[in-house]
Symmetry: C2
Subunit: 311 residues, 2 copies
Amino acid sequence: MNILITGGAGFIGSHLCDALLKRDHHITVVDNLVLGRKENIAHLLSRNDFIFIEEDLLHEEAMKSIFRQGNFDMVYHLAANSDIQKGGKDPMVDYDLTFHTTFNVLQLMKEFGIKKFFFASTSAIYGETRDVLNEDYGPLKPVSNYGAGKLASEAFISAFSSTYKIQTWITRFPNVVGERFTHGVIYDFIHKLRKNPTELEVLGNGEQCKPYVYVKDLVEGILYVIDHSNDMYNVYMLGSDTRTEVKDIARMVIEEMALDAVIRYTGGDRGWIGDVPEFRYDLAKVNSLGWHAAHDSDDSVRLAIQKALGK
Amino acid sequence: MNILITGGAGFIGSHLCDALLKRDHHITVVDNLVLGRKENIAHLLSRNDFIFIEEDLLHEEAMKSIFRQGNFDMVYHLAANSDIQKGGKDPMVDYDLTFHTTFNVLQLMKEFGIKKFFFASTSAIYGETRDVLNEDYGPLKPVSNYGAGKLASEAFISAFSSTYKIQTWITRFPNVVGERFTHGVIYDFIHKLRKNPTELEVLGNGEQCKPYVYVKDLVEGILYVIDHSNDMYNVYMLGSDTRTEVKDIARMVIEEMALDAVIRYTGGDRGWIGDVPEFRYDLAKVNSLGWHAAHDSDDSVRLAIQKALGK
């Protein structure tokens, strides 16, 4: 297949490139390198089944030309803002990078008659609830512009899929960790401890409790869902039904760095405005397809810390 | 209160102007007159508690100047595309008129510190299901760009309400009928019969079955919900839990026009791509506030036909 991966130089996108190339597809990556990094795909640049194009999805004429030449069978759309805090300060970040990019890709798919689409969605579309989240859960009340940008994307994806007959797979991720990440709690803790090895400041009370999934497990899960589901519109929760508390992540980072740091909590039940302090995944639907993540949440966190430290 | 009504020259918006002016508010209407009509508010233009500004919500500088001078306490955002079929042909219609207008209004509210917001949402955010629709229903899978534009709007409204502390009321309408409507099934039937009084073509098999609500009942419902609910984020289904079949609407129009027309069905279970042939409202939440529409669905349709015929 001829596949376009938007955001393919990013954290999850670059792992998806690796996995799809193992399956003998031809890959074109479009990435504006705002969050993506060329070193994430450096090992792929010399392959003749891989093309990297540095371009912005909001440049409509350039994108039309890429679609005209690409003859794509399927688009994996991963380009998005992934920094929730940044989007809270300026709503245009999620409007442009998360939502507007999706809408432009959908318009291009409609124009060029491409009939298969994958979208990387998120637990953040649900907002704040103690209920266990499944694919049919409502209401959807995002508390961050990040979650809003993803839900707004899903809204138009649903309408385009139905109106223009585009077969669609959506997987909703929890926190994803592992090699090549660019931000997030593990990334922050390691950087803070490198600056000050004696004390670690943790935003909130440390009791935020969420599912974490190792990025390579997640990518296998994406491909498993696409291989094993074939409705016109396929939505799956993907991740882990186990969870890890932030204070345990702090302890694991200190332990793996072999430090003797004191943990200081800033207090309050969440790390920042738009943070969802606690959520829980119901994975019955993807489990019934036959998929389970190879690592549980704690193991994913531990593995990600070790990889980040070059172990 | 100083109130801004976007889309205030439109079908529902102009009735809302009438109702709010009876309550001694000062009203500013912004409408680009794409769907709105100046004659809908002609009777208000000489009042000194009413200002009409012909402007497009996508003109950011002009809108900033309106907000700077307006000193608004609350915004009722009704400006939107309301023609589902038009949006199916060109997704930019709902992107621009329905979604982008909402996002711009939210940004202006954030910038100018306005803390109360009303949004006119729709059953179309749910997509196609035979389940009874309530406020917490999921999944949300719109099948029209119109529904997508409204759901995408709700997504950012939720995030802005939570992040920037904007108290919000959302009511989700079914089909709304009555004086000043600009399109829809009753409008179409009357126009078709004026052209050809002997035959009425009905799109689909006539068995599409939906709740209809009379516009003045709906507007009273909006104000009732705002008066009687006070959470930070208030969502209510508003309309009727009774329904009317399209073939009965056809019969009523022919009867009220005193014609002897034959009805010809084009066949199929829906009128057009993006049409939801059947849905049903659970009004328990708004009923428990104490509100019920004065007219049921059949009476609303009959009344709207009579008003359209100048009876």
